[in-house]
Protein backbone atom coordinates (compact mmCIF):
# COMPACT_ATOMS: atom_id res chain seq x y z
CA UNK A 1 0.00 0.00 0.00
CA UNK A 2 1.49 3.30 -1.00
CA UNK A 3 1.91 6.04 1.55
CA UNK A 4 4.07 9.10 1.84
CA UNK A 5 6.56 7.59 4.26
CA UNK A 6 10.15 7.82 3.10
CA UNK A 7 11.50 5.53 5.74
CA UNK A 8 9.99 3.56 8.55
CA UNK A 9 11.32 1.47 11.39
CA UNK A 10 8.90 -1.12 12.74
CA UNK A 11 9.68 -2.87 16.00
CA UNK A 12 13.40 -2.51 15.45
CA UNK A 13 15.81 -3.83 18.08
CA UNK A 14 19.54 -4.19 17.81
CA UNK A 15 21.70 -6.55 19.85
CA UNK A 16 25.41 -5.85 20.04
CA UNK A 17 27.87 -8.50 21.17
CA UNK A 18 31.07 -7.35 22.76
CA UNK A 19 34.01 -9.40 23.85
CA UNK A 20 34.83 -8.79 27.47
CA UNK A 21 37.84 -10.15 29.32
CA UNK A 22 39.38 -13.25 27.67
CA UNK A 23 36.65 -15.42 26.16
CA UNK A 24 33.77 -14.08 28.15
CA UNK A 25 31.09 -12.78 25.81
CA UNK A 26 28.68 -10.03 26.68
CA UNK A 27 25.75 -8.70 24.75
CA UNK A 28 23.44 -5.76 25.17
CA UNK A 29 20.48 -4.26 23.43
CA UNK A 30 21.52 -0.96 21.87
CA UNK A 31 18.02 -0.38 20.54
CA UNK A 32 14.76 -1.81 21.80
CA UNK A 33 11.43 -1.82 20.05
CA UNK A 34 11.81 1.34 17.98
CA UNK A 35 8.89 2.47 15.84
CA UNK A 36 9.53 5.55 13.81
CA UNK A 37 8.38 6.90 10.48
CA UNK A 38 9.54 9.84 8.45
CA UNK A 39 7.25 11.54 5.99
CA UNK A 40 8.25 13.57 3.01
CA UNK A 41 9.47 17.05 3.96
CA UNK A 42 9.50 16.30 7.68
CA UNK A 43 12.36 16.92 10.07
CA UNK A 44 12.58 14.56 13.00
CA UNK A 45 15.14 15.14 15.72
CA UNK A 46 16.53 12.30 17.78
CA UNK A 47 17.62 13.69 21.12
CA UNK A 48 19.65 11.79 23.68
CA UNK A 49 22.89 11.52 25.59
CA UNK A 50 25.87 9.53 24.45
CA UNK A 51 25.23 5.80 24.45
CA UNK A 52 21.47 6.04 24.14
CA UNK A 53 21.48 4.42 20.71
CA UNK A 54 20.70 7.47 18.61
CA UNK A 55 23.55 6.91 16.17
CA UNK A 56 22.74 3.18 15.93
CA UNK A 57 19.22 4.18 14.96
CA UNK A 58 20.62 6.36 12.17
CA UNK A 59 22.87 3.58 10.93
CA UNK A 60 20.01 1.08 10.84
CA UNK A 61 17.87 3.50 8.91
CA UNK A 62 20.73 3.97 6.44
CA UNK A 63 21.15 0.18 6.14
CA UNK A 64 24.73 0.41 7.38
CA UNK A 65 23.75 -1.92 10.21
CA UNK A 66 21.06 -4.62 10.06
CA UNK A 67 18.45 -4.76 12.82
CA UNK A 68 18.43 -7.91 14.99
CA UNK A 69 14.64 -7.83 15.24
CA UNK A 70 12.14 -5.81 13.26
CA UNK A 71 12.00 -4.35 9.79
CA UNK A 72 13.21 -1.24 8.02
CA UNK A 73 11.11 0.12 5.16
CA UNK A 74 12.31 2.48 2.46
CA UNK A 75 9.44 3.98 0.50
CA UNK A 76 7.28 1.10 1.79
CA UNK A 77 9.69 -1.59 0.59
CA UNK A 78 10.81 -3.87 3.41
CA UNK A 79 14.59 -4.10 3.24
CA UNK A 80 14.72 -7.79 4.06
CA UNK A 81 12.70 -8.69 0.94
CA UNK A 82 13.81 -5.95 -1.41
CA UNK A 83 15.15 -6.94 -4.83
CA UNK A 84 18.50 -5.72 -6.05
CA UNK A 85 17.22 -3.37 -8.74
CA UNK A 86 14.84 -1.53 -6.39
CA UNK A 87 17.53 -1.31 -3.75
CA UNK A 88 19.92 0.23 -6.23
CA UNK A 89 17.26 2.73 -7.26
CA UNK A 90 16.38 3.71 -3.70
CA UNK A 91 19.85 3.68 -2.16
CA UNK A 92 20.84 7.19 -3.35
CA UNK A 93 17.56 8.59 -2.04
CA UNK A 94 18.73 8.24 1.56
CA UNK A 95 22.01 9.98 2.38
CA UNK A 96 24.05 10.83 5.44
CA UNK A 97 26.24 13.58 6.88
CA UNK A 98 28.30 12.74 9.95
CA UNK A 99 29.84 14.74 12.73
CA UNK A 100 33.49 14.47 11.82
CA UNK A 101 33.79 15.85 8.31
CA UNK A 102 37.52 15.20 8.23
CA UNK A 103 37.01 11.49 8.71
CA UNK A 104 34.19 11.27 6.19
CA UNK A 105 36.01 12.90 3.25
CA UNK A 106 38.78 10.97 1.53
CA UNK A 107 41.98 12.93 2.19
CA UNK A 108 43.53 11.86 -1.12
CA UNK A 109 40.65 13.07 -3.27
CA UNK A 110 40.16 16.61 -4.46
CA UNK A 111 36.74 18.11 -3.79
CA UNK A 112 35.97 17.63 -7.51
CA UNK A 113 36.47 13.88 -7.26
CA UNK A 114 34.66 13.61 -3.95
CA UNK A 115 31.56 15.06 -5.57
CA UNK A 116 31.89 13.58 -9.08
CA UNK A 117 32.21 9.99 -7.94
CA UNK A 118 28.79 9.53 -6.32
CA UNK A 119 27.14 11.47 -9.14
CA UNK A 120 28.63 9.42 -11.97
CA UNK A 121 27.92 6.22 -10.08
CA UNK A 122 24.23 7.00 -9.83
CA UNK A 123 23.66 9.07 -12.97
CA UNK A 124 25.98 7.81 -15.71
CA UNK A 125 26.74 10.83 -17.89
CA UNK A 126 29.47 12.79 -19.63
CA UNK A 127 32.03 14.18 -17.26
CA UNK A 128 31.50 17.71 -18.58
CA UNK A 129 27.80 17.69 -17.74
CA UNK A 130 28.53 16.09 -14.41
CA UNK A 131 30.99 18.84 -13.60
CA UNK A 132 28.27 21.42 -14.17
CA UNK A 133 26.04 19.62 -11.69
CA UNK A 134 28.89 19.51 -9.21
CA UNK A 135 29.49 23.25 -9.59
CA UNK A 136 25.81 23.95 -9.03
CA UNK A 137 25.75 21.78 -5.96
CA UNK A 138 28.80 23.53 -4.53
CA UNK A 139 27.09 26.84 -5.08
CA UNK A 140 23.94 25.71 -3.33
CA UNK A 141 25.95 24.93 -0.19
CA UNK A 142 27.64 28.33 -0.39
CA UNK A 143 31.03 27.43 -1.84
CA UNK A 144 32.56 28.79 -5.02
CA UNK A 145 34.11 26.91 -7.94
CA UNK A 146 37.57 27.65 -6.53
CA UNK A 147 37.10 24.80 -4.13
CA UNK A 148 36.99 22.12 -6.86
CA UNK A 149 40.73 21.65 -6.95
CA UNK A 150 41.37 21.69 -3.24
CA UNK A 151 41.92 18.84 -0.84
CA UNK A 152 39.85 18.37 2.32
CA UNK A 153 42.73 19.37 4.60
CA UNK A 154 42.88 22.79 2.95
CA UNK A 155 39.36 23.63 4.12
CA UNK A 156 38.10 24.76 7.49
CA UNK A 157 35.71 22.62 9.53
CA UNK A 158 32.66 24.55 8.38
CA UNK A 159 33.69 24.36 4.73
CA UNK A 160 34.34 20.62 4.98
CA UNK A 161 30.89 20.11 6.47
CA UNK A 162 29.49 22.04 3.50
CA UNK A 163 31.32 19.70 1.11
CA UNK A 164 29.95 16.67 2.99
CA UNK A 165 26.52 18.17 2.58
CA UNK A 166 27.05 18.79 -1.14
CA UNK A 167 28.11 15.17 -1.54
CA UNK A 168 24.91 14.03 0.17
CA UNK A 169 22.82 16.33 -2.04
CA UNK A 170 24.37 15.33 -5.32
CA UNK A 171 22.40 12.08 -5.58
CA UNK A 172 19.13 14.03 -5.23
CA UNK A 173 18.05 12.41 -1.96
CA UNK A 174 14.67 12.59 -0.26
CA UNK A 175 16.05 12.01 3.21
CA UNK A 176 19.36 12.96 4.81
CA UNK A 177 20.41 11.45 8.10
CA UNK A 178 22.34 14.18 9.91
CA UNK A 179 24.34 12.63 12.74
CA UNK A 180 25.46 15.53 14.97
CA UNK A 181 26.34 17.63 11.91
CA UNK A 182 27.27 20.74 13.88
CA UNK A 183 28.63 19.40 17.15
CA UNK A 184 32.26 19.71 16.12
CA UNK A 185 31.91 23.29 14.90
CA UNK A 186 32.29 26.67 16.56
CA UNK A 187 29.10 28.45 17.53
CA UNK A 188 29.04 31.09 14.83
CA UNK A 189 29.78 28.44 12.18
CA UNK A 190 27.14 26.14 13.68
CA UNK A 191 24.44 28.70 13.11
CA UNK A 192 25.53 29.19 9.50
CA UNK A 193 25.32 25.45 8.82
CA UNK A 194 21.92 25.21 10.51
CA UNK A 195 20.66 28.12 8.40
CA UNK A 196 22.01 26.41 5.28
CA UNK A 197 20.26 23.15 6.23
CA UNK A 198 16.98 25.05 6.58
CA UNK A 199 17.40 26.74 3.19
CA UNK A 200 18.21 23.45 1.48
CA UNK A 201 15.21 21.79 3.05
CA UNK A 202 12.93 24.46 1.58
CA UNK A 203 14.62 24.35 -1.78
CA UNK A 204 14.66 20.57 -2.32
CA UNK A 205 11.74 19.49 -0.05
CA UNK A 206 14.08 17.35 1.97
CA UNK A 207 13.39 15.31 5.04
CA UNK A 208 15.99 15.16 7.77
CA UNK A 209 16.60 12.74 10.57
CA UNK A 210 18.51 15.11 12.81
CA UNK A 211 20.50 13.29 15.48
CA UNK A 212 21.74 15.56 18.25
CA UNK A 213 22.38 15.83 21.96
CA UNK A 214 21.58 19.52 22.01
CA UNK A 215 18.00 20.42 22.86
CA UNK A 216 18.15 23.97 21.53
CA UNK A 217 19.48 22.79 18.16
CA UNK A 218 16.75 20.15 18.01
CA UNK A 219 14.10 22.77 18.74
CA UNK A 220 15.50 25.07 16.09
CA UNK A 221 15.52 22.45 13.35
CA UNK A 222 12.86 19.82 13.89
CA UNK A 223 9.11 19.43 13.46
CA UNK A 224 9.03 16.44 15.79
CA UNK A 225 11.40 15.64 18.62
CA UNK A 226 12.04 12.08 19.69
CA UNK A 227 13.76 11.63 23.04
CA UNK A 228 15.72 8.42 23.59
CA UNK A 229 17.04 6.90 26.77
CA UNK A 230 19.01 3.67 26.96
CA UNK A 231 17.93 2.42 23.55
CA UNK A 232 14.24 3.16 23.91
CA UNK A 233 12.10 6.05 22.76
CA UNK A 234 10.68 7.68 25.89
CA UNK A 235 8.89 10.61 24.32
CA UNK A 236 7.80 11.98 20.96
CA UNK A 237 6.37 15.46 20.70
CA UNK A 238 5.90 18.15 18.05
CA UNK A 239 7.97 21.29 18.46
CA UNK A 240 4.85 23.43 18.64
CA UNK A 241 3.80 21.74 21.88
CA UNK A 242 7.21 22.03 23.55
CA UNK A 243 6.07 24.59 26.12
CA UNK A 244 2.56 23.21 26.52
CA UNK A 245 2.80 19.60 27.60
CA UNK A 246 4.11 17.93 30.70
CA UNK A 247 7.20 16.11 29.52
CA UNK A 248 8.70 12.77 30.47
CA UNK A 249 10.85 13.17 33.61
CA UNK A 250 13.96 12.48 31.54
CA UNK A 251 13.06 15.14 28.98
CA UNK A 252 12.48 17.56 31.85
CA UNK A 253 15.93 16.74 33.10
CA UNK A 254 17.43 17.43 29.67
CA UNK A 255 15.59 20.75 29.49
CA UNK A 256 16.98 21.81 32.87
CA UNK A 257 20.49 20.65 32.07
CA UNK A 258 20.66 22.80 28.98
CA UNK A 259 20.42 26.26 30.50
CA UNK A 260 19.19 28.90 28.10
CA UNK A 261 21.54 31.89 28.37
CA UNK A 262 18.76 34.25 27.36
CA UNK A 263 16.13 33.09 29.81
CA UNK A 264 14.86 35.47 32.46
CA UNK A 265 15.55 33.20 35.39
CA UNK A 266 18.32 30.72 36.16
CA UNK A 267 17.51 27.06 35.49
CA UNK A 268 15.97 24.98 38.24
CA UNK A 269 18.54 23.08 40.19
CA UNK A 270 17.62 19.50 39.51
CA UNK A 271 17.92 16.92 42.19
CA UNK A 272 19.39 14.27 40.02
CA UNK A 273 20.57 11.04 41.41
CA UNK A 274 23.31 8.98 39.87
CA UNK A 275 24.65 8.77 36.39
CA UNK A 276 23.44 7.27 33.14
CA UNK A 277 23.46 3.51 33.55
CA UNK A 278 25.10 1.19 31.12
CA UNK A 279 22.82 -0.83 28.85
CA UNK A 280 24.71 -3.86 30.17
CA UNK A 281 22.93 -3.48 33.50
CA UNK A 282 19.43 -2.59 32.44
CA UNK A 283 17.13 -2.29 35.47
CA UNK A 284 14.05 -4.48 35.71
CA UNK A 285 11.28 -1.90 35.59
CA UNK A 286 11.45 1.46 33.86
CA UNK A 287 14.93 2.12 32.49
CA UNK A 288 14.95 5.56 34.03
CA UNK A 289 13.64 4.80 37.52
CA UNK A 290 17.05 4.62 39.28
CA UNK A 291 17.58 8.29 38.45
CA UNK A 292 14.00 9.50 38.24
CA UNK A 293 12.90 12.11 40.79
CA UNK A 294 9.29 11.02 40.42
CA UNK A 295 9.78 7.24 40.64
CA UNK A 296 7.39 5.13 42.71
CA UNK A 297 7.02 1.40 43.34
CA UNK A 298 5.26 0.62 40.07
CA UNK A 299 8.20 2.04 38.12
CA UNK A 300 10.44 -0.49 39.80
CA UNK A 301 8.34 -3.48 38.81
CA UNK A 302 6.89 -2.73 35.42
CA UNK A 303 8.07 -1.05 32.30
CA UNK A 304 5.97 1.77 30.88
CA UNK A 305 5.16 1.64 27.18
CA UNK A 306 4.69 4.59 24.86
CA UNK A 307 1.15 5.91 25.22
CA UNK A 308 -0.53 8.55 23.09
CA UNK A 309 -1.76 11.68 24.84
CA UNK A 310 -2.53 14.02 22.05
CA UNK A 311 -2.67 12.72 18.47
CA UNK A 312 0.94 13.81 18.22
CA UNK A 313 2.40 13.29 21.69
CA UNK A 314 3.61 9.95 22.99
CA UNK A 315 5.20 9.47 26.39
CA UNK A 316 6.38 6.31 28.14
CA UNK A 317 5.78 7.06 31.80
CA UNK A 318 3.32 5.88 34.47
CA UNK A 319 3.27 9.32 36.01
CA UNK A 320 1.81 11.09 33.01
CA UNK A 321 -1.79 11.35 31.93
Amino acid sequence: MPNDFIAELKGVSKLYKIRAFLYKKLSFWALLDINLSIRKGEVIAILGESGCGKSTLGKILLDIEKPTVGEVYWFSHPLSKIDKATYKRLRPKIQAVFQDSFASLNPRFKIKKILLEPYLLNFPSEEKEALEVVKNELQSVGLSEDYLDRYPHELSGGERQRVALARALITKPSLIVLDEPTSALDMTIQSQILALLKDLREQYHLSYLFITHNLSTALEMADFITVMYLGRIVEIFPKALFQKIEHHPYTKLLINSNPNPFAERPPEVTTLRGEPISPLQRPKGCDFYPRCPEASTICQKERPTLRSFDPYVQIACFKRG
Binding site: E49, S50, D186, M187, T188, Q190, S191, Q192, L194, A195, H213, N214, S216, T217, L219, E220, M221, L253, L254, N256, S257, N258, P259, N260, P261, F262, P266, P267, V269, T270, L272, E275, P276
Partner: protein, 312 residues
Protein backbone atom coordinates in the same frame (compact mmCIF):
# COMPACT_ATOMS: atom_id res chain seq x y z
CA UNK B 1 41.12 41.91 46.98
CA UNK B 2 42.75 41.25 43.65
CA UNK B 3 44.17 37.76 43.53
CA UNK B 4 45.41 37.49 39.98
CA UNK B 5 46.37 40.34 37.73
CA UNK B 6 47.40 39.80 34.14
CA UNK B 7 48.53 42.89 32.31
CA UNK B 8 49.61 43.35 28.70
CA UNK B 9 50.41 39.67 28.27
CA UNK B 10 51.70 39.16 24.74
CA UNK B 11 52.61 35.76 23.44
CA UNK B 12 54.30 34.93 20.17
CA UNK B 13 55.11 31.76 18.32
CA UNK B 14 58.89 31.93 17.94
CA UNK B 15 58.83 29.66 14.85
CA UNK B 16 56.86 32.05 12.66
CA UNK B 17 56.70 35.11 14.94
CA UNK B 18 52.92 35.06 14.81
CA UNK B 19 51.25 36.90 17.68
CA UNK B 20 49.08 34.47 19.61
CA UNK B 21 47.96 36.58 22.53
CA UNK B 22 47.73 40.34 22.14
CA UNK B 23 48.04 42.50 25.25
CA UNK B 24 45.77 40.39 27.42
CA UNK B 25 44.79 42.37 30.51
CA UNK B 26 42.39 41.27 33.23
CA UNK B 27 42.18 40.77 36.94
CA UNK B 28 40.48 38.26 39.15
CA UNK B 29 39.26 39.02 42.65
CA UNK B 30 39.17 36.64 45.56
CA UNK B 31 36.05 34.49 45.47
CA UNK B 32 35.18 35.54 41.92
CA UNK B 33 34.22 33.27 39.05
CA UNK B 34 35.66 34.77 35.90
CA UNK B 35 34.38 33.24 32.67
CA UNK B 36 36.49 33.17 29.53
CA UNK B 37 34.35 32.86 26.42
CA UNK B 38 35.73 32.22 22.99
CA UNK B 39 35.78 29.94 19.98
CA UNK B 40 38.44 27.33 19.37
CA UNK B 41 41.83 28.84 18.65
CA UNK B 42 41.04 32.15 20.32
CA UNK B 43 43.77 31.72 22.92
CA UNK B 44 41.71 30.98 26.01
CA UNK B 45 43.62 27.83 26.96
CA UNK B 46 46.99 29.43 26.24
CA UNK B 47 46.14 32.19 28.70
CA UNK B 48 45.63 29.50 31.33
CA UNK B 49 48.86 27.76 30.42
CA UNK B 50 50.79 31.06 30.54
CA UNK B 51 49.58 31.64 34.08
CA UNK B 52 50.89 28.24 35.15
CA UNK B 53 54.13 28.48 33.15
CA UNK B 54 53.20 25.36 31.19
CA UNK B 55 53.55 26.79 27.68
CA UNK B 56 54.97 24.64 24.90
CA UNK B 57 58.59 25.52 24.14
CA UNK B 58 57.90 27.27 20.83
CA UNK B 59 55.72 29.90 22.47
CA UNK B 60 57.36 32.86 24.12
CA UNK B 61 55.97 35.58 26.35
CA UNK B 62 57.45 38.80 24.96
CA UNK B 63 55.90 41.31 27.30
CA UNK B 64 53.50 41.68 30.16
CA UNK B 65 53.11 40.78 33.75
CA UNK B 66 51.25 38.07 35.63
CA UNK B 67 50.88 38.93 39.29
CA UNK B 68 49.45 36.37 41.65
CA UNK B 69 49.08 37.45 45.30
CA UNK B 70 51.83 40.06 45.13
CA UNK B 71 54.25 37.76 43.28
CA UNK B 72 55.35 38.25 39.70
CA UNK B 73 54.90 34.79 38.24
CA UNK B 74 56.97 35.54 35.14
CA UNK B 75 60.00 36.35 37.26
CA UNK B 76 59.55 33.43 39.61
CA UNK B 77 62.55 31.25 40.36
CA UNK B 78 61.98 27.78 38.82
CA UNK B 79 62.63 26.31 42.28
CA UNK B 80 59.59 28.11 43.63
CA UNK B 81 57.12 26.90 41.02
CA UNK B 82 56.13 23.72 42.91
CA UNK B 83 54.94 25.94 45.78
CA UNK B 84 52.55 27.69 43.40
CA UNK B 85 51.55 25.21 40.73
CA UNK B 86 49.23 22.54 42.08
CA UNK B 87 49.21 24.12 45.52
CA UNK B 88 48.14 27.76 45.18
CA UNK B 89 46.87 27.54 41.60
CA UNK B 90 45.52 24.28 40.26
CA UNK B 91 43.98 23.36 36.96
CA UNK B 92 41.47 20.86 35.62
CA UNK B 93 41.25 19.94 31.98
CA UNK B 94 38.57 18.78 29.61
CA UNK B 95 39.42 15.11 29.44
CA UNK B 96 39.89 13.51 32.87
CA UNK B 97 40.86 10.13 31.41
CA UNK B 98 44.00 11.50 29.84
CA UNK B 99 44.96 13.60 32.87
CA UNK B 100 44.67 10.76 35.38
CA UNK B 101 47.38 8.14 35.47
CA UNK B 102 45.90 4.86 34.21
CA UNK B 103 48.26 2.56 36.14
CA UNK B 104 47.84 4.12 39.59
CA UNK B 105 44.68 3.79 41.62
CA UNK B 106 42.84 6.86 42.85
CA UNK B 107 44.26 6.60 46.37
CA UNK B 108 47.84 6.49 45.13
CA UNK B 109 47.37 9.46 42.81
CA UNK B 110 45.73 11.62 45.42
CA UNK B 111 48.24 10.45 48.05
CA UNK B 112 51.08 11.60 45.84
CA UNK B 113 49.68 15.11 45.66
CA UNK B 114 49.21 15.31 49.41
CA UNK B 115 52.70 14.00 50.10
CA UNK B 116 54.40 16.24 47.56
CA UNK B 117 52.73 19.50 48.52
CA UNK B 118 51.79 19.05 52.17
CA UNK B 119 54.18 16.34 53.33
CA UNK B 120 51.37 14.24 54.75
CA UNK B 121 51.54 10.45 54.88
CA UNK B 122 49.60 7.49 56.19
CA UNK B 123 46.37 7.99 58.10
CA UNK B 124 46.60 11.80 58.07
CA UNK B 125 46.81 11.80 54.28
CA UNK B 126 44.00 9.25 54.01
CA UNK B 127 41.77 11.31 56.23
CA UNK B 128 42.26 14.43 54.13
CA UNK B 129 41.69 12.51 50.89
CA UNK B 130 38.51 10.87 52.11
CA UNK B 131 37.18 14.18 53.39
CA UNK B 132 37.87 15.84 50.04
CA UNK B 133 36.36 12.99 48.03
CA UNK B 134 33.20 13.29 50.14
CA UNK B 135 33.15 17.02 49.52
CA UNK B 136 33.10 16.52 45.73
CA UNK B 137 30.21 14.07 46.04
CA UNK B 138 31.84 10.68 45.61
CA UNK B 139 29.95 7.95 47.43
CA UNK B 140 31.92 5.26 49.29
CA UNK B 141 35.21 7.18 49.10
CA UNK B 142 37.11 4.45 50.96
CA UNK B 143 36.17 1.90 48.32
CA UNK B 144 36.96 4.30 45.49
CA UNK B 145 40.53 4.76 46.73
CA UNK B 146 41.32 1.36 45.30
CA UNK B 147 39.62 1.94 41.93
CA UNK B 148 41.54 2.71 38.77
CA UNK B 149 40.51 5.58 36.50
CA UNK B 150 39.08 3.26 33.82
CA UNK B 151 36.67 1.80 36.36
CA UNK B 152 35.01 5.16 36.94
CA UNK B 153 32.48 6.94 34.75
CA UNK B 154 33.30 10.22 33.05
CA UNK B 155 31.50 12.32 35.64
CA UNK B 156 33.18 10.41 38.49
CA UNK B 157 36.60 10.93 36.95
CA UNK B 158 36.03 14.65 36.66
CA UNK B 159 35.02 14.67 40.34
CA UNK B 160 38.26 12.91 41.22
CA UNK B 161 40.14 15.53 39.19
CA UNK B 162 38.37 18.30 41.07
CA UNK B 163 39.15 16.57 44.37
CA UNK B 164 42.80 16.38 43.36
CA UNK B 165 42.87 20.04 42.44
CA UNK B 166 41.38 21.24 45.74
CA UNK B 167 43.32 18.85 48.03
CA UNK B 168 45.86 21.53 48.93
CA UNK B 169 43.21 24.25 49.31
CA UNK B 170 44.38 26.36 46.38
CA UNK B 171 43.39 29.99 46.09
CA UNK B 172 42.75 29.83 42.36
CA UNK B 173 41.27 27.03 40.29
CA UNK B 174 41.61 27.18 36.52
CA UNK B 175 38.93 25.07 34.85
CA UNK B 176 39.65 24.56 31.15
CA UNK B 177 36.41 23.32 29.55
CA UNK B 178 35.81 20.92 32.46
CA UNK B 179 32.36 19.85 31.31
CA UNK B 180 32.69 19.75 27.53
CA UNK B 181 33.41 16.01 27.37
CA UNK B 182 30.61 15.10 29.77
CA UNK B 183 26.99 14.24 29.19
CA UNK B 184 24.50 17.05 29.50
CA UNK B 185 22.93 15.83 32.73
CA UNK B 186 26.33 15.26 34.34
CA UNK B 187 27.58 18.67 33.20
CA UNK B 188 25.12 20.44 35.48
CA UNK B 189 26.14 18.31 38.46
CA UNK B 190 29.76 19.34 37.99
CA UNK B 191 28.79 23.00 37.61
CA UNK B 192 26.77 22.80 40.84
CA UNK B 193 29.77 21.25 42.55
CA UNK B 194 32.09 24.05 41.41
CA UNK B 195 29.52 26.63 42.52
CA UNK B 196 29.44 25.10 46.00
CA UNK B 197 33.22 25.06 46.23
CA UNK B 198 33.27 28.70 45.21
CA UNK B 199 30.73 29.56 47.91
CA UNK B 200 32.08 27.44 50.75
CA UNK B 201 35.80 27.78 50.24
CA UNK B 202 35.81 31.22 48.64
CA UNK B 203 37.69 29.60 45.80
CA UNK B 204 38.38 31.87 42.85
CA UNK B 205 37.71 30.17 39.53
CA UNK B 206 38.93 31.04 36.05
CA UNK B 207 36.38 29.19 33.96
CA UNK B 208 37.18 28.62 30.30
CA UNK B 209 34.38 27.52 28.01
CA UNK B 210 32.55 28.10 24.75
CA UNK B 211 29.16 27.26 26.29
CA UNK B 212 27.01 30.38 26.64
CA UNK B 213 24.37 28.73 28.79
CA UNK B 214 26.84 27.52 31.39
CA UNK B 215 28.59 30.88 31.63
CA UNK B 216 25.39 32.86 31.91
CA UNK B 217 24.32 31.14 35.12
CA UNK B 218 27.75 30.45 36.58
CA UNK B 219 30.27 33.24 35.99
CA UNK B 220 30.27 36.60 37.75
CA UNK B 221 32.19 38.34 35.01
CA UNK B 222 33.00 37.36 31.42
CA UNK B 223 35.90 38.04 29.07
CA UNK B 224 35.12 37.62 25.38
CA UNK B 225 38.13 36.35 23.43
CA UNK B 226 38.58 36.56 19.70
CA UNK B 227 41.82 35.61 17.95
CA UNK B 228 44.04 36.21 20.94
CA UNK B 229 42.46 39.44 22.07
CA UNK B 230 39.90 40.36 24.68
CA UNK B 231 37.22 42.23 22.75
CA UNK B 232 34.81 42.80 25.56
CA UNK B 233 34.68 42.30 29.29
CA UNK B 234 31.74 42.92 31.56
CA UNK B 235 29.78 41.57 34.50
CA UNK B 236 27.64 38.68 33.24
CA UNK B 237 24.32 40.47 33.70
CA UNK B 238 25.46 43.51 31.79
CA UNK B 239 27.02 41.52 28.97
CA UNK B 240 23.85 39.54 28.34
CA UNK B 241 21.58 42.55 28.75
CA UNK B 242 23.55 44.69 26.30
CA UNK B 243 26.36 43.05 24.33
CA UNK B 244 28.37 45.88 22.78
CA UNK B 245 31.02 44.42 20.52
CA UNK B 246 29.75 43.30 17.10
CA UNK B 247 31.46 39.95 17.64
CA UNK B 248 29.63 39.36 20.91
CA UNK B 249 26.41 40.29 19.17
CA UNK B 250 27.10 37.83 16.33
CA UNK B 251 28.03 35.16 18.85
CA UNK B 252 24.85 35.64 20.86
CA UNK B 253 22.71 35.72 17.74
CA UNK B 254 24.13 32.40 16.61
CA UNK B 255 22.60 30.64 19.61
CA UNK B 256 19.87 28.32 18.26
CA UNK B 257 16.45 29.92 18.31
CA UNK B 258 17.70 33.51 18.41
CA UNK B 259 16.96 36.02 15.72
CA UNK B 260 19.71 36.13 13.17
CA UNK B 261 20.18 39.64 11.84
CA UNK B 262 23.79 38.93 10.86
CA UNK B 263 23.44 35.68 9.01
CA UNK B 264 24.60 37.04 5.70
CA UNK B 265 28.06 37.51 7.11
CA UNK B 266 30.43 38.55 4.43
CA UNK B 267 33.77 36.87 4.56
CA UNK B 268 36.36 39.15 3.12
CA UNK B 269 39.65 37.46 2.44
CA UNK B 270 42.35 38.79 4.71
CA UNK B 271 44.71 39.67 1.91
CA UNK B 272 42.25 42.09 0.33
CA UNK B 273 41.85 44.27 3.35
CA UNK B 274 44.54 45.25 5.76
CA UNK B 275 43.00 46.00 9.11
CA UNK B 276 43.97 46.57 12.69
CA UNK B 277 40.84 44.88 13.96
CA UNK B 278 40.80 41.08 13.62
CA UNK B 279 37.04 40.96 13.45
CA UNK B 280 36.81 43.51 10.63
CA UNK B 281 36.65 40.71 8.04
CA UNK B 282 33.37 39.46 9.46
CA UNK B 283 32.05 42.61 11.05
CA UNK B 284 28.42 43.53 10.30
CA UNK B 285 29.22 47.19 11.07
CA UNK B 286 32.25 47.88 8.92
CA UNK B 287 34.07 51.10 9.68
CA UNK B 288 36.86 53.02 8.01
CA UNK B 289 38.99 53.41 11.11
CA UNK B 290 40.04 49.75 11.16
CA UNK B 291 42.53 50.32 8.38
CA UNK B 292 44.05 53.32 10.18
CA UNK B 293 44.61 52.38 13.81
CA UNK B 294 44.00 49.84 16.53
CA UNK B 295 40.52 49.88 18.02
CA UNK B 296 40.76 51.54 21.43
CA UNK B 297 39.63 49.93 24.66
CA UNK B 298 36.65 51.89 25.84
CA UNK B 299 34.80 51.83 29.10
CA UNK B 300 31.20 52.08 27.99
CA UNK B 301 29.73 51.70 31.44
CA UNK B 302 31.42 51.18 34.80
CA UNK B 303 33.03 47.75 34.54
CA UNK B 304 31.95 47.18 30.94
CA UNK B 305 34.89 47.42 28.53
CA UNK B 306 34.79 47.03 24.77
CA UNK B 307 37.50 47.20 22.14
CA UNK B 308 35.80 48.74 19.12
CA UNK B 309 35.80 51.92 17.06
CA UNK B 310 32.02 52.09 17.17
CA UNK B 311 32.03 53.35 20.72
CA UNK B 312 34.94 55.78 20.42
Amino acid sequence: MTLLEVSNLTLINSHNSQTILKAITFSLKKGEILGVLGESGSGKSLTALSILNLLPSNLRIVSGQIRFAQQDLLKLNPKDWPKIRGKEISIIFQDPLSTLNPVLNIGEQLGEVVYYHLGLKGSQAKELIIKTLKEVGISDPELRLRSYPHELSGGMRQRVMIAMSILCSPRLLIADEPTTALDLTIQMQIIELLKNLNRERELSILFITHDLGVLRWFAHRILVYYQGQILESAPTEKLFARPLHPYTQVLFASYPGREKPFLKEKFIKKRYMPAYCDFAYRCPHPCKEVSEREPPLIQAEPGHYVRCHLYA
